[in-house]
């Protein structure tokens, strides 16, 4: 009798626990994170770290992450395919909030959810949300990425004895680079000047551009950001390994090269001044939590102002480049000091 009662109570207890777990999971807010790139990129990992840490909350949202991996999918139809897959997952997962990180996630996925009645969208790591028609959307907010160009101006003054610098920028011809170019040419660089902002398709053009800058211009620094889509030559569809582009540049440019993304120094760029992906991830998570709590979009847009200085040991190659010790200490302490970037100890051109 006692045994029977014990089994009944045990059964009820299991059912209650099961019901509790089920209802808890069903009531957890669902957040779908779509990254344009793959998780192998350090900036993606840093963003995720900041995002996950800030998203820890009593509501404990259930998250699902999808990587579109568009850097390895150069053809338009492959990018479209990746976007279609993401939309399929969204339809199954039915999230309350979609976090779209990077340009392609907006272009191929979240643009379709403008003014969606049930789904809110939070964008991150894009510079021009207006390109996607977000400015009038009621269900969309996000963190607008900004190059910390004011800080770049100040750091460059620390690196050079000159008070007025001549700068040029160079990159590939991707939409990502077009947004960067736009940012660079529209920024007020006073007292410095931007002499050129070059966008090239292939490595021959890249080399030509660097040589022209060496020969014709009295440029003090070359700014780089995106160079992951440089074709090996004008008649080739093969994209050159990005670290090889930088390796050649560092060896052949008489002008110091400065990166605008934190990954640039990992690729071999002597010094990079960038926004912190980690804090961008944190700010994005805060917007997600706000949406979950308020059930609507309250903050229209936020920006991150934190900046990082990353260093590659190659900076010592430039005699004229005086990097203050504090930057080196900061980079080492933040894990942003890179000793080498060569593939298997040697790069091939």
């Amino acid at each position: 009798m006692f045994k029977k009662r014990f089994f009944i109570v045990k059964g009820i207890l299991i059912l209650v626990i099961f019901w509790f777990i089920l209802s808890y999971n069903l009531n957890r807010p669902r957040v779908m994170v779509i990254h344009s790139y793959s998780s192998t990129l350090s900036s993606v990992r840093a963003f995720s770290r900041g995002f996950d840490e800030a998203l820890k909350h009593d509501k404990n949202p259930s998250t699902l992450t999808y990587y579109m991996n568009t850097l390895n999918r150069q053809k338009e139809r492959n990018k479209v395919g990746s976007g279609v897959s993401a939309v399929g997952i969204i339809e199954d997962f039915k999230p309350q909030v979609i976090v779209a990180v990077g340009e392609e996630a907006q272009e191929y996925v979240t643009k379709k959810y403008i003014n969606h009645p049930e789904i809110k969208v939070v964008y991150a790591k894009i510079k021009r949300p207006e390109l996607y028609g977000y400015e009038t959307a009621k269900n969309i907010t996000g963190v607008r990425e900004q190059f910390p160009l004011k800080e770049v101006k100040n750091v460059l003054l620390d690196l050079s004895p000159k008070k007025r610098l001549k700068l040029a920028s160079i990159g590939d011809q991707t939409t990502l680079m077009s947004a960067d170019d736009n940012f660079i040419i529209e920024h007020s660089w006073d007292p410095h000047v931007i002499t050129d902002s070059l966008m090239v398709k292939d490595f021959d053009e890249w080399k030509k551009a660097i040589r022209k800058l060496n020969k014709m211009k009295e440029v003090d620094f070359i700014l780089v950001s995106n160079y992951r889509n440089i074709k090996a030559s004008s008649d080739s569809q093969k994209v050159l390994y990005h670290k090889d582009v930088i390796a050649w540049t560092i060896e052949n440019s008489e002008i110091p090269v400065v990166g605008l993304y934190e990954t640039n120094s990992k690729d071999g760029v002597p010094i990079s001044i960038s926004t912190s992906s980690y804090t961008e991830g944190q700010s994005t998570a805060k917007l997600v939590l706000e949406i979950i709590q308020e059930s609507s979009v309250k903050t229209k847009q936020s920006e991150t102002r934190h900046f990082l200085v990353s260093l590659n040991a190659k900076y010592s190659m430039y005699d004229d480049l005086k990097v203050p010790e504090v930057y080196k200490s900061f980079a080492i302490a933040s894990g942003l000091y890179y000793e080498s970037s060569r593939r298997n100890g040697k790069y091939k051109i």
Binding site: V80, I185, E186, I194, S197, L198, V200, A209, M216, K217
Partner: protein, 340 residues
């Protein structure tokens, strides 16, 4: 003494010109029409090879947006040096350039293009009149009493029993696109005027063409406007949509017919097919000239810009046997070439 003086002047001039040369921007920048885009890309590639200089950076934005960037309010030294246009620049756009102190603009006609109605290769649909096209596309059309009614036509055969028994589906480019503007002007206005009731309404009501003739229907999917994403730089997805929907007519430039000849065909307009000869002789009703507009002040500020513009107009590029011929540009001949 005179000789030393001469040498000093020469030295000064050499120094001055080399300083000037180094102060020039190194890369030409351009925006504009999606129709002109493939031509400008080809010219840029050939120019960089021939002149051993940097390839100009060419982007495709559509004619209207291109002119906005070319002459808009946010001008700086990196604003576009030239813009491609599949129509002539409008008076209000010239005024915008003046207001924003862009300075003199040079209009360079580069050749002819024909607006085609493309459809999936093999579809049995060969000819259409401009009036029939208007009756299929317009939001309001006249009934037999001459009163404007909502467009009732679902199939081409509803308009004319000789036309095929397939659903009316027309894919138009974006509104900002020059091809859209030219289509409205060349096809819709002419088609509207060809309809006697509409002609009467235009003559008597005094209402603008735009209101009467250029409002496309929005009932269902008979007329669709392509997105920027469909058009892209290369029209790939635009063509794919036509290919995937047999019977759908896509409005685009003649050059795309050459590029995608395995997938699409073009129907004749008023019995005239869009051929090279018909476009260059202006027999094809939807022929139009293409242009690039260049900022004159940039000729001395951007390395190679003057050479580039000369190269664009050279026989090697846009002449009767020029490189752009294979991309579908119909070149001017000595009689049809308009002045710069």
């Amino acid at each position: 003494m005179v000789n030393i003086k001469y040498k000093l002047i020469l030295l000064f001039l050499t120094f001055f010109t080399s300083f000037e040369a180094s102060a020039k921007r190194l890369q030409i920048r351009s925006v504009g029409s999606t129709t002109v885009y493939p031509f400008s890309v080809r010219v840029s590639e050939s120019f960089a090879k021939k002149y051993k200089t940097l390839e100009p950076f060419v982007t495709s934005t559509g004619t209207g947006q291109g002119i906005d960037q070319f002459c808009g309010t946010s001008q700086n030294e990196f604003s576009p040096d030239f813009t491609g246009a599949s129509r002539k620049i409008k008076d209000n756009e010239i005024q915008m350039c003046k207001n924003n102190k862009v300075g003199a603009i040079i209009e360079v006609p580069i050749g002819y293009d024909g607006i085609i109605l493309a459809l999936k290769k093999g579809t049995k649909f060969t000819n259409i009149s401009l009036e029939e096209l208007f009756l299929a596309t317009s939001k309001m059309i006249p009934n037999k009493h001459g009163k404007l009614i909502k467009n009732p036509y679902k199939k081409w055969r509803d308009i004319n029993p000789k036309l095929p028994n397939i659903k009316i589906q027309i894919l138009l480019p974006q509104v900002q696109n020059g091809t859209y503007g030219s289509f409205m002007k060349l096809a819709m206005n002419k088609g509207c005027e060809a309809n006697s009731c509409m002609k009467k309404l235009i003559d008597t009501s005094g209402k603008p063409y735009k209101e009467l003739c250029r409002t496309y229907r929005n009932d269902g999917d008979h007329v669709t406007i392509a997105t920027k994403y469909d058009l892209g730089d290369s029209h790939d997805l635009f063509i794919q949509k036509i290919y995937d929907n047999p019977g759908m007519l896509g409005v685009m430039g003649y050059s795309f017919l050459k590029q995608f000849k395995e997938k699409i065909d073009a129907i004749s307009i008023e019995g005239t097919p869009p051929s090279f000869d018909n476009i260059s002789s202006l027999k094809y009703p939807l022929s139009r000239p293409l242009y690039i507009y260049v900022r004159q002040d940039r000729l001395n500020k951007v390395e190679g810009l003057k050479d580039f513009i000369d190269f664009y107009q050279s026989d090697e590029i846009s002449g009767e046997k020029g490189q752009l011929l294979e991309l579908g540009l119909v070149p001017f001949n000595s009689e049809t070439r308009p002045p710069i």
